[in-house]
Subunit: 224 residues, 6 copies
């Protein structure tokens, strides 16, 4: 993103292949924190639509975002994104509101695993749910759907330009964390600050739990 | 509810702390009956929105309702309700149509368990889904969502005045029963009658099952 | 269906009891194929609404369709259909858009099992979810709902005339296959062709998986 | 419809060109009655989705139904239906849930007027709204939309077989009446009875209006 | 509302016949103010669902609220409310989410006009749209629908207890103002203050308009 | 847009003040063509959501797009856009899915008229509907809503970077045409070609109308 973030420019490239990523230490520090805690500690930002959930409840993911704007009912840009991404990256995909297609399955998960990607977050459906759960490659989606996608080589999409999920913007390189509760996107440049605030919050919550178990009321504990 | 049920009166209190509850024997008699059976036996009443389901499929709940009308995106009234409720009570919460927030999590479940409450039924989302399932405190919700709630001390809400879920009214003290199939609210004053009708229905269904397994057709069995 | 397929004619019969079915060998050949593969191999047709899913994730079904158009909030036509169907048949039910009722439960599953039916696919809800999962009789539905149905003997419904699920038509005798990913309807007269195309597709995908695991990219593999 | 009403049979024709119609006197008798009155007098049946409204508020229509099941985003079957219909007939069109296309415009309205058809009722959108209002040919639709339709010669549709609008079935030859309040479908064979009941209802309402204007209360008037 | 606002109490009355109203001067002062201005001046409160609009665009209404909670598909409580209301009162009706019925028509408008009521605001549909527009009695509704309502004497409803429209509560005696832009409810006890703030806002806006027409930019005018 | 189209870059500017526009002759040539014709002639592209309609049916607009991505419930970016735009420009606004606010009213229309802008297209609601219709400044919106907006100076929005309406992208400088049927966006660089194709289509349709009026059937005319 050296020369400016470009979103589907009429004449320029629609794939930005070089993006800034958080460093490995930051990713590992975030990996152990819950999505909800990160969302709160960052100031209640970055919560993706709650209907996006792991295809198997124990799956978690954490990594820098490769953002993919996909035309509805088409998965060509997801194929492309697998090879734009680097090991550890998480594909974050907006499907232009056309949820009910199976945009991803065993073949693509195998390709993504071969590339050692960090996972997939898609605001649509996928297929091969049982196989995906067995493979353990983390896929977060709205549900399972068998309806097949096409490949329209003329349709407009983009990779590594910003995405808009309702009121939430995701940029390439944002730190994406998903667990059973949902998915959050944390701006790369705020990661260190959010990690610190999350740890503080975790510590406070642990202390609060002890006091509540000992009989204190939340009303006084939090001065409600 | 001796002196009149008040719903958000302009000048009076918005928390009714004293309500009438079914007696302990009634609660225990109801506890072993399925929600669907109670709904049918009571004359097909009191079915809460079907999207409200246990966060872990094996959870069940049964107890008198503490009714909570919560402003959207705010969980201050849930905190208050934890301390209005008595052991065994079930919090029943309407969130004014704003489903996609995490109104409840580990802290509040710990507080509710410390108070020995009977469970939570909420027409919105919660967070900390894995922890809630482990704790075993029965939570029935629309789903899991990380989006954080605020605490608006000026916003209007109420406790122990009636709630309206589409066409179904729930009063404080109604007997609330939830299982994997859904949640039902039975009016306190009809509890004994509904228990009797439910047992009769259960017995009839057991007999019908035996006859069907023996080859009889439902068309003749029920005179369709 | 010798003399013409009749859909709720004003004066004629609304149950077509004699329909053409695929032969047993065809059903068994289809049974081992995934729903998504059949949908793709048939030319991306016959995908039922993706929200229809098995009540227990490991359930599968495969068999000829008995089509049931049911009035909303009424399950009389489902009872009738149990006895129109023959062993192995799958009931496919449209509930006129009124999803939130429990159209099916333990009693009906017991009757269907006694008749050795192949399963149920319904574009609405059912009840007794835990029992249905234990019984193992394959039920595919939108969810679980306790709200009770009536029996209106005057209401118009039909059996074994075509159904319309959004843009997908299902005919009596179509081959219905459901697994964790969803449900597909394959026209009876195209079954042999679709089986062949599905097997070819399965073989190609297995080969593609090996090449992808060996490091090849999907972009070149598929000439994207 | 001599030999049975056929809905998209796998092998037979999908256009039934000969249907039974109410006689001209019946159509004229119905023409002066409000849609709401006919709906009530017939026993509260046949109300089409309320979002279907005239493109200009003063338009009314009345005539026998030519029923058209159209694939979504395609208007080939509407062209065909214009030439299946006879003077006075009303095209009633279901678009398989894909509302947001402009299925009808100036060209087709001109063709329909040249054929002296009675009007169009469509559960989707149309275009050329200003011209349609000027032409005076009665079009009832969900709204105006510029999105263009295709012509898929392989897509399945049908003419003069039954349609299902949520829980309401419309048969070819049903008497269709539309005014500013909405659209109703009255079964042909019940037309005479419904006309009599509607007139009686109109007379009763006129008498009730006089008594209410004179000061009587509806509570006593109707024994509520 | 002397002894407490009661909402559908199990044993007490469900009609509160005596309510506090704003005085006539207040009603007249409010009558000339736009709904949007009152909403803003009161602190952005009381906006009813925006889909509720006048059946004829030039209609306006202003008066104290008679609040009516109606069971879905039933208009018995509207009949009752006509006779609980006093001249100038506005019926405000919640229909429990079942919008698509014609809850009100010529008969009821005639009765309401005979009682000299101030108008109707209903979160559902009405019928006889053309007649209502001609009569000039102000009706604000979601749209026009012919589907008929029943009268269930056992169904629970209430009059002059609070209503909840999403996140907005309306109390009996609130001042209701509706125009082409929408409907607002102003708490009776704040009416004087809101009138003053509205007039101030109107004056400020008039001054701002003059300055903008003279070439000033809104960015500087409002210090954005 | 010399150096690349930037969408909400983390560090760069979010307003692109210099954009390429179609020349005046092109705008005038397009102004007399219907939105539906342009959409078809361009290859069925650029149709904005059909619910966006003129606040008064006779309003039309035509001009180059100033694209505005607005946070939900906030109209600060609309104020800014009025002063980024030049005479004749059309503001095209996406409100992040939060439709039910009054984003625009008399003050802003007066400011836009003082700047001689060409109109407003917004995927949300506006207020002061009667005044806007009287002023004649062309406003296309989803409806009228009194709910007030805030001004959040920290919230992220952008001007003159691309917008996404479901599956349709609008770029700054696209030619926007709106009439009673709806709104279309035509890429600036394709304008000349689309004008020619539209005129050809208009001529063909006029010829077709004459032949249809003379009795020819559309089936033969178009070789269906």
């Amino acid at each position: 993103m050296s020369g400016g973030v470009a979103l589907a420019p009429p004449t320029g490239p629609t794939i930005a292949s070089r993006i800034l990523r958080p460093d490995a230490g930051t990713v590992e520090a975030v990996r152990v924190l819950p999505a909800a805690t990160l969302h709160e500690a960052a100031g209640r930002i970055g919560a993706l639509p709650w209907q996006i959930k792991p295809v198997s409840p124990s799956l978690r993911l954490c990594g820098p975002a490769i953002t993919v704007q996909s035309p509805g009912g088409d998965n060509l840009w997801l194929h492309r994104a697998i090879y734009v991404a680097e090991p550890g990256d998480v594909l974050v995909v907006h499907v232009s509101g056309a949820h009910d297609y199976g945009y991803w399955g065993e073949i693509m998960a195998t390709a993504a695993r071969a590339r050692r990607l960090g996972g997939l977050v898609i605001d649509g459906c996928v297929r091969d749910g049982v196989l995906l759960a067995e493979m353990g490659f983390p896929v977060f989606a709205r549900g399972l759907c068998i309806r097949g996608t096409g490949k329209d080589f003329g349709a407009r999409g983009w990779i590594n330009h910003p995405l808009l999920f309702d009121d939430v913007t995701v940029h390439a390189g944002d730190l994406i964390v998903g667990d059973a509760d949902g998915v959050v996107a944390i701006p790369r440049e705020r990661a260190a600050e959010v990690i610190a605030a999350s740890r503080e919050r975790e510590a406070k919550e642990a202390a609060a739990l002890r006091r509540i178990e000992a009989g204190e009321r939340t009303l006084e504990l939090y001065n409600f």
